[in-house]
């Protein structure tokens, strides 16, 4: 599509103000960049970027674009890393970054925030008042983005519920410009068909979420524990038992595989037992209760054969243990490998040990470029997200990079189908359309297409995402 960008810019400036429309190459670039191990091309950039200040301005922009059939891609924070926010058909990128108002209403026991509020900011502001936010995506991610992909709390999901369970209501702008208010302002769910549930998890293809109302949770007391295991699959076994034995679930739990631990320990100069580690954050209404719950996990880890397990009382050791996990992305770099790509596999609980075993050796004996990568396993214990990070040199040619990415993605799809996984951690629907169609069938996919047609008759919003364009 050929657009008269200058004219488009002039029109949009009238809608959102002169300072909030950007056509400069350098400004537009950030709204298309991805975490793929190869660079953007200029042709992939949006024609311009707009930053509306409220739902009314979003509505004006969408009406304008809808009348002219101009594609609009929504941008929250770009931390889904690869697929959702990259414009597939150029046009307008609409950023929600200025939708950043926040109100915490203790009387009503909810918070209401703009879609562009960052999770880190929200967590901090809630923390000051003694509340906990049940979405644990990284600090730079936006609330609108997290709610749109209905993710992610790791184990928090299983305790406090997924975003869809905690959102009371939304303000949404349809691609045709109508502004909807959904849900309720009390703690009771709305009567009838609550449209909130249609937009949460729709990954932004049906409308632009501009405001979110969510319930408040008092912040629990927390105590962390660690378990060291000779083999990573022992952690999978322990997690299955944790559920079966009805132990108090931790609100957060991570694991790091053997190979990744080795590199992490070397990087930090840590003298921890050889093998893998699991780190958990138990909670309670009181510190004693949290300690008791953490103690139960320590006992479980020991029963399953942990070489060592203890409550993380020492602040310095605690930071180092979490540091080994948080530095997941640096493991390849320690070996001079700057290129990387991570995948996600979600096996059901009984198959966790088997999946962990396979992923621990996933590159061994493989032909193709994937066999030349270094792989590191880590993930979220108990919420069934195993991540495998493949590291490779950045010096590879573009062709080789694209080939290895393709091989890794094919492998992920094979593994998801084998282990009956879904890939719901990162919300990469554009990339997972083939998996979705194969797993759920064409009848399911056709419903998505029909709903899209109903909400967005000219397919202006995030065009290419449900089509599986990446």
């Amino acid at each position: 599509m050929s657009l008269h960008v200058e004219e488009l810019g002039q029109d949009l400036r009238k809608l959102v103000g002169d300072d909030h429309v950007h056509t400069d190459l350098i400004e537009r670039m950030n709204y298309a960049d991805t975490a793929l191990p190869y660079d953007l091309e200029k042709e992939e950039l949006p024609d311009l970027v707009v930053h509306p200040a409220n739902a009314q301005e979003v509505s004006e922009v969408l009406k304008y674009a809808n009348e002219r059939r101009i594609p609009v891609t929504t941008y929250g924070s770009g931390t889904s890393l690869i697929f959702g926010t990259k414009p597939k058909h150029r046009g307008i990128t609409l950023s929600t970054e200025r939708l950043n108002a926040l109100e915490i209403d203790e009387a009503h026991q909810w918070l209401e925030c703009g879609a562009g509020v960052k999770i880190g900011h929200l967590v901090r502001e809630l923390g000051k008042l003694g509340y906990f936010f049940p979405i644990q995506t990284q600090a730079a991610s936006s609330v609108g983005g997290a709610v749109s992909v209905n993710t992610l709390g790791h184990l928090t999901d299983n305790i406090f519920g997924r975003p869809v369970n905690n959102v009371l209501g939304l303000e949404v702008v349809l691609p045709t410009g109508e502004i909807l208010q959904t849900g309720s302002t009390c703690l009771r769910r709305a009567a009838g068909w609550d449209l909130t549930r249609i937009f949460v998890g729709a990954e932004g293809v049906l409308g632009i979420i501009t405001k979110i109302r969510m319930v408040l949770y008092p912040a629990p007391e927390t105590v962390d524990a660690v378990g060291f295991f000779r083999k990573t699959e022992q952690i999978g076994l322990a997690i299955g038992l944790m559920y079966k034995q009805k132990l108090p679930l931790p609100m957060d739990g991570e694991f790091v595989g053997e190979k990744a631990c080795k590199v992490g320990y070397e990087a930090y100069g840590l003298d921890f037992p050889e093998g893998a580690l699991a780190v958990t954050r138990s909670m309670g209404r009181t510190r004693e209760e949290a300690e008791r719950n953490a103690g139960e996990l320590v006992a479980l880890f020991k029963r399953v054969g942990a070489t060592e397990s203890f409550i993380l009382e020492d602040e310095e050791i605690r930071e180092k243990v979490w540091g080994v996990r948080e530095n997941a992305m640096r493991w390849g770099q320690e070996k001079g490998l700057k290129g990387f790509l991570a995948i996600e596999v979600n096996p059901p609980l009984p198959r966790l040990p088997e999946a962990i075993r396979e992923l621990s050796h996933v590159t061994e004996g493989r032909k193709g470029l994937i066999g030349q990568t270094e792989s590191y396993l880590y993930g979220h214990v108990g919420s069934d997200s195993l991540h495998c990070l493949f590291a490779f040199p950045y010096g590879w040619s573009l062709e080789k990079m694209k080939q290895v990415v393709d091989e890794i993605w094919r492998l992920e799809k094979e593994l998801q189908l084998k282990y009956d996984g879904v890939g719901g951690d990162w919300g990469w629907f554009p990339y997972r359309v083939p998996l979705y169609r194969e797993k759920y069938g064409e009848a399911s996919y056709a419903i998505i297409e029909k709903m899209k047609q109903l909400f967005d008759p000219h397919n202006i919003l995030n065009r290419g995402n449900i089509e599986g364009e990446v």
Partner: protein, 391 residues
């Protein structure tokens, strides 16, 4: 290296460093200059430089972004903690050097600053002979080879010329005198060059480093004490030949030592609640967090309360990295807004005084209190002022 080789080498360094950015955006969550857009802050600057080099060379837009950084270093700590440990401040300084080399940089207002430093030894272009006017009536020794001292007090440009910051120099030298320290200042003190390096003028920095190193050696200085964290950082970490046998201290080190040795005694009670703002180049860059706090705690009657963001996590005053002299381009957060945000944190503590240990922070935070109309609620002071009151 000739100009072309320097450019080539800088471009290579920048590309190698920036290619491995994980794009997690977490650097932007701690950056004081980010307002709302992803294009602002360390992530935006990093990508602008990377793609600027790749696509079309560098532009004025890229220059404005690169120079919007205060070099506070919070992004560096974040990247080290959770991602690929990119030395972002170092990268941005190299980008500034490259911009300067290509003729695009520095920012227009900084050209005059660099010229002044080169010609007159200070960024504002004040006459060199006025550099020691702050010391008139204090009977301070001018150090020379013939008349050497135990402690060479390096005043720094701000405390030499700025009326507000001159108080720091006067207070500190009064404290030295009370403690019986054999100290002196240089008649021909020059800029340490710290800000020239931040701006990207590495050639001028090297020239100043060489000149100052020779001057320190020529007067037979045994130790240097300074109240300027920027100079302290450059002397201790960036002057290639200074570390050999010359002890460099920020005054917060030195005054603690004087008290431990019983040479400086504080007897008057201050009876006040204070909070402490960590200057970026003393705290995060030089890792001096405890000494200023120890010094504050030694002042009788003073209660120290911490701000929401302190020590490694402390926010910037907004004036570092050469920002002091530029008009921040439209669409980027102003230094005043950054300083006011820091003052709001200080007000939240309920403290009556914000103490700091840097002339830049002192000036900037003091101005923010005035612009917010909060003079009745909180005061900004250098630690030396309170120490002197108690001594």
């Amino acid at each position: 290296m000739n100009g072309e080789q320097i450019t080539e080498s800088l471009e290579k360094d920048l590309n190698e460093a920036l290619v491995s950015c994980e794009k997690c955006h977490l650097c932007n969550t701690v950056c004081p200059i980010v307002d709302t857009r992803v294009t602002q802050g360390p992530f935006g600057i990093n990508r602008a430089v990377y793609y600027g080099l790749k696509w079309h060379g560098l532009s004025e837009h890229v220059r404005d972004l690169v120079h919007s950084c205060t070099t506070c270093g919070k992004c560096v700590a974040m990247c080290k903690m959770v991602s690929r440990a990119l030395p972002l401040v170092e990268i941005f300084e190299k980008a500034r050097a490259l911009l300067l080399e290509s003729g695009l940089g520095p920012m227009p207002e900084q050209r005059e600053v660099l010229k002044n430093i080169y010609r007159r030894g200070n960024p504002w272009g004040y006459p060199p002979h006025e550099r020691t006017q702050w010391a008139e009536g204090l009977d301070i020794k001018k150090v020379s080879k013939e008349d050497t001292v135990d402690v060479l007090y390096f005043v720094g440009c701000a405390s030499s010329y700025d009326p507000q910051a001159q108080k720091i120099a006067r207070n500190l030298t009064r404290i030295f005198t009370q403690a019986g320290v054999n100290f002196g200042i240089l008649e021909g003190e020059q800029c340490s060059g710290s800000e020239t390096r931040r701006i990207g003028e590495t050639g001028l920095f090297e020239h100043l480093a060489e000149m100052n190193t020779q001057m320190f050696a020529s007067v037979g200085a045994k130790g240097i004490v300074t109240g300027d964290p920027h100079s302290y950082y450059s002397f201790s970490r960036e002057y290639p030949d200074l570390g050999k046998g010359l002890k460099v201290q920020h005054y917060t080190h030195f005054l603690n030592e004087l008290m431990e040795e019983g040479k400086l005694k504080l007897s008057s009670r201050a009876e006040t609640t204070v909070t402490y703002h960590d200057p970026c180049y003393l705290g995060r860059h030089s890792e001096v967090f405890e000494e200023p706090r120890a010094l504050i705690r030694r002042i009788p009657g003073v209660t120290l309360v911490e701000m929401e963001k302190s020590r490694e996590d402390s926010d910037c005053c907004g004036m570092g990295g050469g920002r002091m002299w530029i008009e921040v381009p439209r669409g980027l957060l102003s230094s005043q807004a950054i300083a006011e945000s820091r003052i709001r944190q200080a007000l939240d503590t309920g403290a009556e005084i914000v103490l700091t240990a840097c002339p830049f922070c002192n000036i900037t935070l003091g101005d923010a209190v005035k612009s917010m109309g909060k003079e009745d609620s909180i005061k900004v002071m250098d630690i030396t002022e309170l120490v002197l009151m108690a001594s």
